[in-house]
């Protein structure tokens, strides 16, 4: 399971411009709707805001999708699913995290089982701040993502490949509460280094 850590990774820059333009205008999204932010999705898709005019379409499975939209807080239980879904997506793939919960835990900042920093576990390309963001915010985020793609800056999926071990460690730490203290410290240090990097 998961992705290769091949050395011969094709650089994003090497892609033809046409391909980038195509991906930009055809963002297919799989939205992970366990949080309360899901309520904002229907207006975005339907006639009021109509995201299809930008070529954005909701998809049923991660295999077909380019964008993973996480609408709100994640618990330890749902994080496992999110990672599964993310890893099943085919690169280039992007993650948009939606709402404050994904940034810092939001109103669940002191809950024992919610995920506070999504960035620790999967590479987020774009955050939409707010509790909760308006549909315009979502549209705006997508436009922003398009801009990033066009500029070749939306490289979360490459980051995930590069620091696969680190991400995995973080993930394991959440899922496995029985990691020994020493190991924890070691990994903590390594992770901090990676974050600096």
């Amino acid at each position: 399971m998961g992705l290769h850590n091949g050395d011969k990774m094709m650089r994003y820059e090497e892609w033809s411009k046409l391909a980038r333009k195509a991906s930009k205008r055809s963002l297919w999204m799989v939205h992970f709707c366990t949080g309360c932010g899901a309520i904002e999705m229907p207006p975005v898709m339907t006639s009021r805001y109509d995201m299809e005019r930008f070529g954005i379409a909701p998809m049923a499975t991660p295999r077909q999708a380019d964008v993973l939209l996480i609408t709100g807080y994640l618990t330890v239980k749902t994080l496992r699913r999110v990672i599964q879904v993310y890893e099943q997506m085919q690169s280039p793939k992007y993650v948009i995290a939606f709402g404050s919960c994904t940034i810092n835990g939001g109103m669940y900042w002191d809950s024992y089982n919610t995920i506070k920093h999504l960035e620790k576990y999967i590479p987020v390309d774009l955050y939409i701040a707010g509790c909760m963001p308006r549909p315009e915010g979502i549209i705006n985020a997508f436009l922003e993502l398009m801009k990033l793609i066009d500029e070749g800056k939306a490289r979360g999926w490459e980051r995930y490949q590069k620091y696969y071990d680190k991400y995995k460690e973080n993930q394991r730490r959440v899922f496995n509460f029985e990691v020994k203290e020493e190991e924890k410290e070691e990994k903590e240090q390594k992770r901090e280094k990676n974050e600096e990097h």
Binding site: L3, M10, W15, S16, L18, A19, K21, A22, S23, R25, S26, W28, T46, S47, D50, E52, R53, F54, G55, M59, A60, T61, R63, Q64, D66, Q88, M89, Q90, S91, P92
Partner: protein, 318 residues
């Protein structure tokens, strides 16, 4: 046939294959636009599907589930191109003199079977259920469709699509099959069957994104999904063309030196009208359940088709 003739023929075939593909993608985009307008939305640009296909084919990761999964890609595009080329398009007989309507019916099964194999090979239960629904749908809509097909065949005393088109084009629009009362009924039944064939609502049971995660395509992504989109685009053209060939004289209205240009445009218009009709129906109806669809086709549609068949039979016997 000499070498030049063969070369010309091959060029024409390739040209029609490309035209078919582009037309299909274009129509799909227009179809999305139409649906959006019905929904009071702006909708994507008409060329959206070209972008989608380009994106899918340029995806970096493509996940396969083994060589049987790859058969889906290979069989779908080749099979549907094969089918398209065996149809008279706008009165132009490509390969349709080498086969007939039965051949076309069975050639249409090649890409479907290929895709079903790929879907099955992925091992996803949703794919299995989706294929099951697709096959049951096929069993459902084929009954009215073959009955109307047979009505046409015994009326024109041929099974060759080329001959059917030729006989309908003798007097232009006046000799189209749909101008005759029994075939009006038949055309209605066949159009409903076409709705199922195109897998548009209310018969989009096999894909049903909200129930079974888009059914057979659940594991398809990247180039596999891209080829599926191409297949759907060409299939759209092929299936509407089949209908046009059967009931609307293949779109042939003019005879003469440059008639084929006019005929081509008429054909394009006709298949667009058919597609637009189907899209409009799709945009305004919810989805049937599979039993309901089966009942619809085998009870009401089959009876309508059978009436036309009996009518035609009586006409022919007299």
């Amino acid at each position: 046939m000499d070498m030049i003739g063969i070369a010309i023929k091959i060029t024409i075939l390739i040209a029609y294959a490309i035209i078919g593909t582009c037309t299909g993608l274009l129509f799909m985009g227009i179809g999305r636009k139409i649906v959006a307008r019905v929904h009071n939305r702006v909708g994507p640009p008409f060329y959206q599907n070209f972008i989608d296909v380009a994106k899918l084919l340029s995806k970096k990761t493509n996940i396969s589930h083994g060589w049987i999964f790859d058969l889906a890609l290979l069989f779908s595009i080749s099979g549907i191109l094969l089918t398209l080329l065996f149809l008279p398009i706008g009165g132009v007989q490509l390969l349709s003199t080498d086969g007939d309507a039965f051949l076309v019916l069975y050639l249409l099964a090649i890409p479907s079977l290929g895709f079903a194999l790929g879907a099955g090979a992925s091992g996803n239960p949703n794919a299995g259920v989706g294929v099951m629904r697709a096959l049951v749908m096929m069993l459902s809509y084929e009954l009215p469709f073959v009955i109307t097909l047979i009505a046409l065949m015994i009326y024109y005393d041929t099974t060759s699509l080329a001959t059917i088109v030729r006989m309908q084009s003798i007097n232009g629009i006046k000799s189209w099959a749909i101008t005759m009362p029994p075939f009006m009924i038949a055309a209605f039944a066949a159009d409903m069957a076409l709705q199922g064939m195109l897998m548009e609502q209310p018969f989009d049971i096999p894909v049903a994104p909200h129930e079974i995660a888009s059914g057979p395509m659940v594991e398809f992504g990247g180039k596999y999904l891209g080829s599926l989109m191409l297949y759907k685009a060409i299939a759209l053209v092929a299936e509407t063309t089949l209908f046009v060939d059967l009931f609307l004289g293949g779109g042939v209205v003019a005879h003469g030196n440059f008639a084929f240009v006019i005929n081509f445009i008429v054909w394009l218009a006709l298949i667009f009208l058919l597609f637009a009709l189907s899209i409009l129906i799709a945009a305004s109806f919810p989805r049937f359940r599979i039993e309901q669809a089966f009942g619809f086709y085998w009870k009401y549609e089959a009876i309508i088709a059978a009436i036309s068949l009996i009518w035609v039979y009586i006409m022919v016997i007299k």
